[in-house]
C-alpha cells in the first residue's frame, strides 16, 4: 500500500513538474498584447499617469552608470523624479555601460520587437520608425505648447522623421578639443591654433619638447580620432562641410575624405601614443589625464572628469583649456530620448519621465554637473552659470569665432560604417590599405544599408 502511494505521489509530482516547466516557457514569451507604437490620443498630455493602485513600471536601459561622466547627474535626476513621481511611476533601470554595448542591446531589442519604454540618444531612429517601434511624440508636444516651446526647432527637426517627432533632446554636442596649458607652455605655445598650419606647427613644437601631441584611438568606434577626422573634412571648404553635415552619407570617395584619412594616418604614425593603435577610449583618456599627451578631442561631458580625484591629480582641471578646431567646431543637436512603449499607459508614463529628465532644471543641472551644453533656447546661459564652467566658457568663446560648424559623425552615419573604422584604421596605420581603399570600404559599408 505504501509503495503504491509513493508511486502515485511520484506520478503526480511528475505531472506538476511538467506543468510548471510549460508555464515557465509561456512566461518567457512575448508580453506584447497590443500593436506597437500605438499613437496616444491628444488628450494624453503626458501629465501624471493616475494609478491609485501600484505605480506603473517603465523600463529604461541606460549607459549613465559606473564611470560614465554623466552618471552622477543621472543619479541626482532619477532621485528627484522618484521623490516627485515615485508613487505613480517606477523607473526600472538596466545598467549597460559603454556606447557600443548600449547600441548593440537596443538593436537586439528592436529586432525582437521588445524595445524598452525609454531609449536614450542612439542612432536607431530610422530603423525604429521603419518598424513602427517608436511612439510618435507629436501629439504629446501639440497638447503641451509650453513644453514644446522649450525645445529648439533644430532639435525637434533632428529628432523628426516624415514630419513626426520621435525624440526629445536635452543637450547639444559642442565639440572641439581640450589642451594642457602647462604642456603647451613648456613647448612654447601661447594659445591654441586658429589655422591648421598653426595646429601642425604646434604639434611639431610639442614633439620637439618631448611631449606627445595628442591622444588618439583606433579601437572601439575610433571616437577621438574620428573627431579630428570630422574637423579636417568639415573645415575643408564647402564640399567638406556639406559632407560632414549630411545624414547617412553613402559616398566617401571624395577628395576631402581621402585627404583627411591620409592626414589621420600621418597623425597616428607621428603624433600620438603607441597604444592609440587598436586602443580604446580609455587609453586615450588616461594618456591625457595623466599628462602623457597635450591634447584630447572630446565633448564637454569630459569636463567633469577633470575634477574627479579618481581619474586626475589635484589641480588638473586648472591646467586644462578648451578650443574649437582650427576654423571649425562640431555643433549639432543630439538624438534625444524616445519612447518604445507598446500601450498608451506606459507611453504616457514614459513621456512623463522624459519631460522630467529633459526639463530646464535637469538641463541646467547637466550643465553645472557635467559641463554639457543644454539644448533648450529657453535656458538662459547667464554669465554666472557659465563662469562656473571656465573650460566650457573658453570653448564657447573659441567656437563663436569659427566659420564652419558640422555634425557629430556618430549621430549622422550608418552604424556599420563605425565598425569599419574600428578595424581598418589600424590597417591604414600599417600600410595594409591606402586612404582611397579605406574610403571605398566606408562607401561599400554604407551602401549595404540600402538593401
Amino acid at each position: 500500500m505504501h509503495k503504491k502511494a509513493l508511486k502515485n505521489l511520484i506520478r503526480v509530482m511528475t505531472l506538476v513538474l511538467a506543468f510548471v516547466m510549460l508555464l515557465s516557457l509561456a512566461a518567457c514569451g512575448s508580453k506584447s498584447t497590443s500593436p506597437a507604437a500605438a499613437a496616444p490620443d491628444a488628450q494624453a498630455s503626458g501629465a501624471e499617469t493616475k494609478n491609485a493602485a501600484a505605480p506603473i513600471t517603465i523600463t529604461f536601459p541606460t549607459l549613465f552608470v559606473g564611470e560614465n561622466s554623466m552618471a552622477p547627474w543621472f543619479s541626482t535626476v532619477l532621485a528627484r523624479f522618484n521623490a516627485e513621481y515615485g508613487d505613480q511611476i517606477h523607473v526600472q533601470i538596466e545598467e549597460i555601460p559603454g556606447d557600443q554595448a548600449y547600441l548593440d542591446k537596443m538593436k537586439i531589442l528592436l529586432a525582437s520587437g521588445d524595445l524598452p519604454d525609454v531609449i536614450f540618444g542612439i542612432n536607431i531612429m530610422d530603423l525604429a520608425v521603419q518598424q513602427n517601434a517608436y511612439v510618435d511624440l507629436t501629439p504629446y508636444l501639440d497638447a503641451d505648447p509650453a513644453w514644446k516651446a522649450t525645445i529648439s526647432e533644430a532639435g525637434l527637426e533632428f529628432n523628426s522623421r516624415n514630419g513626426k517627432v520621435y525624440g526629445i533632446p536635452s543637450s547639444v554636442n559642442y565639440i572641439g578639443y581640450f589642451y594642457n596649458k602647462e604642456l603647451f607652455a613648456k613647448a612654447g605655445i601661447d594659445a591654441p591654433a586658429e589655422t591648421w598650419d598653426e595646429f601642425w606647427a604646434n604639434c611639431d613644437k610639442l614633439k620637439a619638447a618631448g611631449i606627445t601631441p595628442m591622444s588618439q584611438q583606433t579601437g572601439e568606434d575610433a571616437w577621438t580620432t574620428m573627431l579630428l577626422f570630422s574637423a579636417l573634412v568639415g573645415t575643408d571648404g564647402e564640399a567638406g562641410n556639406k559632407f560632414m553635415n549630411t545624414v547617412n552619407p553613402t559616398d566617401y570617395n571624395i577628395p576631402e575624405v581621402i585627404n583627411a584619412f591620409a592626414k589621420i594616418k600621418d597623425v597616428l604614425q607621428n603624433y600620438t601614443t603607441a597604444d592609440a593603435i587598436g586602443g580604446g577610449y580609455e587609453n586615450a583618456a588616461v594618456a591625457f589625464e595623466t599628462e602623457q599627451t597635450a591634447m584630447m578631442f572630446n565633448g564637454t561631458w569630459m569636463i567633469s572628469e577633470f575634477n574627479d580625484p579618481g581619474k586626475t591629480a589635484d589641480g588638473f582641471a586648472a591646467k586644462i583649456g578648451a578650443a574649437a578646431f582650427p576654423n571649425g567646431i562640431i555643433s549639432t543637436p543630439n538624438i534625444g530620448y524616445s519612447v518604445g512603449s507598446k500601450d498608451k499607459e506606459h507611453a504616457d508614463a514614459a513621456v512623463t519621465f522624459i519631460k522630467f529628465i529633459t526639463s530646464l532644471d535637469s538641463q541646467e543641472l547637466l550643465l553645472t554637473m557635467g559641463g554639457v551644453l543644454p539644448e533648450s533656447p529657453a535656458l538662459d546661459l547667464s554669465d554666472d552659470v557659465v563662469a562656473q564652467q571656465p573650460i566650457l566658457a573658453e570653448l564657447l568663446q573659441s567656437g563663436n569665432k569659427v566659420q564652419y560648424q558640422f555634425m557629430d559623425y556618430q549621430m549622422a552615419w550608418y552604424t556599420n560604417t563605425l565598425d569599419v573604422l574600428g578595424t581598418e584604421l589600424s590597417s591604414l596605420y600599417y600600410d595594409l590599405i591606402t586612404p582611397e581603399e579605406l574610403a571605398q570600404m566606408m562607401t561599400e559599408a554604407a551602401l549595404k544599408n540600402l538593401g
Binding site: M21, K107, D275, I277, G279, T423, E424, S427, I433, K448
Partner: protein, 294 residues
C-alpha cells in the same frame, strides 16, 4: 509484462521525458530550424523575408571576409585539437605521478579557464599594451631600445597574440584526462612496473590507449570551442586589424548586429553547424569513441 517498459510504464516514461523534450524543442529545435530556414532567405534591415535559395551561400563563397574568417577558424580548430589537447594531456599524465607541487600546478593551471573571458580579454589587453604592458617592459630589459610592439594591432603579431590567449590554457582538457587517468586501476601500473616499464613507457603504451575516450572528449570540446569563440576576440581585436583575427562567430555578430543582414548571418550559422557536426563525427571516428573498449 515482457520487456522493461510495459504499456503503462511507457506512458509514465513519456511523462517524465515530456518537460525536457518540450524545453529542447522550444529552446533549441525551433530556433535551430528557423536559423536553417532563414539562411535561404534575403532578410535584411527588418525587411520581409524573401526566398533566395542558395543565394546567401554563393555570396559567402565570394566574400573575402568570410573566406578569411573560415580559414582562421579552421586554423584555430586544428591548433586547439592538437597542441592544446596535447598540452593538457601531457600535463595530466605528469600530474598523475604526483610530482612535487602537483596540487598547486593542478589548481593554478585552471585559473585562465575559470576567469570570465571578458575579464581575461581585458587582462590580456593590458598585458600586451604597447605603451605600458608587461610583455614589452620585459622585452625592453633585454633590448637596447624601448620595445613598443603593438601585439594586438600589428598585422605581423595580431594572429599569434590572439591565438596565445587560449592555446596554452588547457585546464579543462587536463582535468578530463587527469580524471580518466586516476580512474585506471592501480594494478595496471604496478604490473607495468614489475615488468620493468618506466613511467614514460607506462604513460605512452598503457595509459594513453586506456584514456583515449577522455582525450577524444577533450578534443571534441577543444575543437568545438573554436567554433564559438567570440568573447576574447570581441574584447581584444574585434577581428582586426582588417580581417586578420576574424573568425566565423564574430563574423556572424558583425553581419547580424552591425549590418542587420540576418539571412546572411544565418547562412554563416548553418556553415558553423555543419562544421561542428563534421568535427564531432571525425573526432569520434578517430578516437573510436563509439566502439566498446576491448
Amino acid at each position: 509484462m515482457n520487456g522493461i517498459l510495459n504499456q503503462r510504464n511507457k506512458k509514465w516514461a513519456g511523462a517524465f521525458l515530456a518537460p525536457a523534450t518540450t524545453l529542447f524543442i522550444v529552446v533549441y529545435l525551433i530556433p535551430f530550424s528557423i536559423v536553417i530556414a532563414t539562411a535561404f532567405t534575403h532578410w535584411k534591415n527588418f525587411s520581409a523575408l524573401s526566398f533566395v535559395g542558395l543565394g546567401n551561400f554563393k555570396e559567402l563563397a565570394e566574400d573575402p571576409r568570410f573566406r578569411k574568417a573560415f580559414v582562421n577558424t579552421m586554423i584555430w580548430v586544428l591548433l586547439q585539437s592538437t597542441i592544446h589537447v596535447a598540452l593538457g594531456t601531457a600535463l595530466a599524465l605528469i600530474l598523475a605521478h604526483k610530482p612535487l607541487g602537483w596540487r598547486l600546478v593542478r589548481t593554478s593551471y585552471l585559473f585562465p579557464n575559470i576567469i570570465s573571458s571578458a575579464a581575461l580579454g581585458l587582462m590580456f589587453l593590458n598585458i600586451f599594451n604597447p605603451q605600458m604592458g608587461i610583455i614589452n617592459e620585459i622585452l625592453s630589459k633585454f633590448s637596447s631600445e624601448t620595445v613598443r610592439i603593438n601585439w594586438y594591432s600589428d598585422p605581423k603579431t595580431a594572429f599569434f597574440t590572439v591565438t596565445s590567449s587560449w592555446l596554452l590554457y588547457a585546464g579543462y582538457v587536463m582535468l578530463l584526462v587527469y580524471g580518466a587517468r586516476i580512474s585506471m586501476p592501480e594494478t595496471l601500473y604496478e604490473a607495468a612496473m614489475i615488468d620493468g616499464a618506466s613511467k614514460r613507457q607506462f604513460d605512452f603504451y598503457i595509459a594513453l590507449p586506456c584514456i583515449k575516450g577522455a582525450i577524444g572528449a577533450g578534443t571534441i570540446l577543444s575543437a568545438t570551442s573554436m567554433l564559438k569563440e567570440f568573447d576574447l576576440i570581441y574584447m581584444t581585436t574585434q577581428g582586426g586589424p582588417g580581417s586578420i583575427t576574424l573568425n566565423l562567430p564574430y563574423y556572424v555578430y558583425k553581419t547580424s548586429m552591425l549590418e542587420l543582414n540576418f539571412g546572411y548571418a544565418n547562412a554563416i550559422g548553418v556553415v558553423l553547424i555543419l562544421l561542428g557536426t563534421l568535427f564531432i563525427i571525425l573526432i569520434n571516428r578517430l578516437f573510436r569513441m563509439d566502439t566498446a573498449e576491448e
